[in-house]
Structures are given as C-alpha cells and as structure tokens.
Amino acid sequence: MLELKNIAYGVGEAGKGKEILKSISLTIPDNKFIAITGPNGGGKSTLAKLIAGIEKPTEGRLWLDGEDITELSITERAKKGIGYAFQQPVRFKGITVRDLIGLAAGENISTAKACSYLSEVGLCAKDYIGREVDASLSGGELKRIEIATVLARKTKLTLFDEPEAGIDLWSFQNLIRVFEKLHEEIHGSILIISHQERILNIADEIIVIADGRIVKNGSRQDILPGLLGTEGGCRFTCEPQRTAGAEA
C-alpha cells in the first residue's frame, strides 16, 4: 500500500516559484488498478516521478507499506518494489533489448523468458531481442519495450505514464490485455496515467488531477460517467492525443 500525505511540489526558488502539485493526499491500496487522468500540465507525470523518487517533494511525505520512503533514492525505492514505465522511454546506444530486460528482471534470465515479455507486448521476440535500444527503434516500438521491461520487474507497485502514447490502434487492444493480465497475476497495485477511455474503463478507481490538485477520486462507476457525460463535455478524454512532449 502506498500513502501520500500533503504532497506539494514546486519549482523555482526553494520550490516557491511555481507550484506544480498542491497538497496531494492519496492512498493506493494493494491489488488495485488505479487510473489517473486530467488535463495536460495538471501535474500527473510529476506525481509519478515523486512516487518513483526521481523528484523530491517540497512538502509532505510518502509511505510504502507503512515505511516512510520520502528520503529514499530512486534505486532504494525500485528495490522496495516500485516500477516505473517512462512516458518517453530512454534510448541507449549499445544496450540491447535483451540486456535491458535482463537488468529489469535483476537476474540472469533465459533468452526464452526475455522473449516471453516481448511477446506479451505484441513484439515478435526474435526480431527485437538482439536489437539495440537506440534511435533505430520507432517511438511505438520503444514504448512497448519499456512496458516489457516493467513487466519483467514484477513489482508490487507499477506506474505507467501514458502507456498508450505512440501505440497504434492495432496494438492497443493487446495493451489492454497486458494490463488486465498484470492485474490478475501480480497481487500488487497498478497506477496508470492515461487519457484513454478504454484504459479508464478497466480501472477499479479513477483519480482526476487538474491544476496540481485532486479534483475527483472514486470508483470507476462513480467517476467515469462524469468524465464522459454531457456535464462539462468530454474534456478529459477527447483531447487530441499527444505522441511526444514532456508534461510538467
């Protein structure tokens, strides 16, 4: 279980220049599939980075299974079971897909096992396993490899930042199945930042973040109709999909 209490994050002088997140309190129970949505620039990605330890909050604390992890490094949090799939996956010259999956799994895994993670995300394993994770891969390929590495980690809390970005429609249905399977197999929690109705549709709970605050938080049944319904239009789900561009 992950708990966030009064988390604030700002940039600029002593974090007072611009507040990206304001007093976020949140509990992510075990074995839950939670989707975070909301307008671009609302602070969703920042929240994921704070949980992974890539950014440190200016105020507030985080607990993982009752342990205060606020001061822990990225590495320590990763070892305690936090997995994180980047919105914009990183490229590495010379490191192969197999190397990366092996590093993620944290042990010497067999090639067959490494291939099975690629197959799960819809990549023909034999075409990809030996390739370098460099500029020769397309954005969509890289994104799926990123998801495969996170699957290989089998963490108890897994964060996905807009996993659908850059994934073609053909592969999208497959992606949904990946999340459903992960949810069934690993009795941990999944936190997905997404704008996609089909992803929101399989979540247990939905959190809406806008302007650095949680504006809605509840079960899918309670939240989703409001997002898709007439009230306020379909502001959060019908925005044009971005394929690139960092989000604050």
Binding site: I54, F86, V90, K93, G94, D99, L103, A104
Partner: protein
C-alpha cells in the same frame, strides 16, 4: 612463452593456445612462432623488421593471426607488416599488441600494417590493443594502417583499445578504387592521464566506392582524446563518419572532421556527439534497481560493446 605473455596474447587475440591456420607471434621484438598454410605464406622481411603475409587468390574462410607481445620494460619495437591479399579472397586477419610493463622505462611498439587488397576480395581485420603491468614505465602504441582497396573489394576493420595504453597515435590511410567499400569501427577507452589520437584519412577515388568510419570512445579521469577524420570524395561515392564520445570526470575529447567533395556526386556526411552520460539514462537504470555507479558501468559497457 611465460604466463604474462600468454595473458597478453589472450587479451589481444583471444588465443588460448595455438590458433588454427596461419600465424606469426612476435615476442619482445623477435619472431617466436610461425605457421604457414597451403594458401597463406609468411615471409620475414630482409631489409627491415617485419613480415610479408601473402594470401593466394581465391583463398576462402581462412584466418591469419599476427599478435605482438611486449613484456620487457624499456623495449622499443618497430615493425612493418605487409599483407598481400589476392583476388576473390575471403579472409580474417587478427592483429593486436599487448604490452606488459612492470618496470620504470618506456615500452613502445609501432606497427605499420599495409594491406593490398585484390579485386573483389573480402577482408575482416581485427586489431586489439592492451596494456598491463604496474610499473611506472609508459606503455606506448602507435599503430599505422595503410589500406589499398582494389575494384569491388571490401574491408572491415575493428579496432579496440580498452585498457592500459598510456599514449597512442593511431593513423589510418586508405585509398578506394571502383565499388570498393571500407568500414572501420573503433572503440577506445582512456583513463588516468592517457592520451589517444586517432587520425583517419580516406580517399574515395573510385566510382561507387564508400567508407563508413564509426568511432565510439569514453574518456575518463584526466585522459585526453583527439579524433581526426578526413574524407575526400573524388568520384561518385559515399562517405560517412561518426564520432560518439562519452566524457567522464575531467576527460577531454576533440572531434575534428573534415569532409571534402571534389565531385558533384560525392555524398559525404560527418556526425559527432560528445557529452557526459545523459542523466535520464542513469535515472532509467536506477528505476530498475541499479545504483548510480552500476548504471554508469552498464551504460559505458554497452556503449563500447
């Protein structure tokens, strides 16, 4: 051969004993062992130090190993090795030099390798440089490679210097005839106060010939590297050079490209990128549970693999 010499041999030529095919071992400035085959002859030069390696036309799937080992401190060794590769050959040549300097005097090996590659022949050339020993004496290697590629021939040269060489000037000169192709892949890592200079000059004289120079290097601590690449497009040809360097600590790298097109249909590209390891690469590997130092090591290993 003693243990140190065997270890050097293993490092530079992946040899764990006597190799298959033709070979010539040079140890501390003298020939130590030689084997010739039906198709590959090795002849000692009469006028200067070195050997001629003569490969008969049409020789396929054979290899030649000519490693050099220096384990005696204070020795300066200069050799000329000339390779005559006949038409339609398909061969692998493994050279390389290992220096172990446990003393206080400078040890130096300057190998001048000339390749005369016949029409439509194919050559894979592997060259490794390695230094070891804890003496204060410098370990110096200055390899020169001269390549003449005849019509339709191709050569791929892999050159690696990962450890222990204090100072190196690596000079490569190549001339390409019609439809000849040359690929050079260089990998260098320097540390301490080492110095490495790479100097390529390729003349693309033939029609439809092409060269691809790829250099990847890591400069650690106070080491310095200079990458010079000069490509002259004198005909309808393709030329590409790429220098990618990772800087660490107080390292310094200069990349100085020069591409000259003397023909309307010469197409020449140079790319160079120097910088420290991208922060996001380290972050990504840390999210997989690696420490910062482990992440750095993985990135460098992959880069130089």
């Amino acid at each position: 051969m003693d243990e140190i010499q065997m270890e050097l041999l293993k490092q530079v030529a992946d040899i764990h004993g006597v190799p298959q095919g033709a070979y010539n071992f040079r140890v501390n400035g003298q020939g130590a062992a030689r084997n010739t085959t039906e198709h590959i002859d090795i002849v000692t030069k009469q006028d200067k130090q070195g050997i001629d390696i003569i490969i008969k036309p049409g020789t396929k799937n054979e290899s030649v190993h000519i490693p050099v080992v220096l384990s005696q401190s204070g020795l300066t060794d200069l050799v000329y090795n000339d390779f005559y590769i006949g038409e339609d050959c398909d061969v692998t040549i493994v050279a390389g030099c290992g220096i172990h300097n446990g003393g206080t005097q400078k040890s130096q090996h300057d190998g001048i390798h000339s390749f005369f590659v016949g029409k439509n022949a194919k050559v894979k050339y592997i060259e490794k440089h390695y230094g070891s020993g804890d003496g204060s004496g410098e370990r110096v290697l200055n390899p020169q490679t001269i390549i003449e590629l005849a019509e339709g021939s191709s050569m791929e040269m892999d050159t690696v210097q990962i450890k222990g060489v204090d100072s190196t000037v690596r000079t490569t000169r190549a001339v390409l005839a019609d439809r000849a192709t040359l690929v050079i892949k260089e990998k260098i890592m320097t540390h301490g106060s080492q110095y490495a200079k790479t100097d390529f000059e390729v003349n693309l004289d033939g029609e439809d010939c092409g060269v691809n120079l790829i250099s990847r290097s890591v400069a650690k601590e106070h080491s310095r590297q200079i990458f010079l690449s000069k490509i002259n497009g004198n005909n309808k040809c393709m030329g590409h050079s790429e220098c990618d360097a990772i800087l660490m600590d107080e390292g310094s790298v200069s990349a100085i490209p020069e591409i000259t097109a003397n023909h309307l249909d010469a197409s020449l590209i140079h790319e160079a990128a120097i910088g420290k390891i991208a922060g996001e690469q380290i972050t990504k590997l840390m999210t997989l549970g690696l420490s910062e130092a482990e992440a750095e090591a993985q990135i460098v290993n992959g880069f130089l693999k």
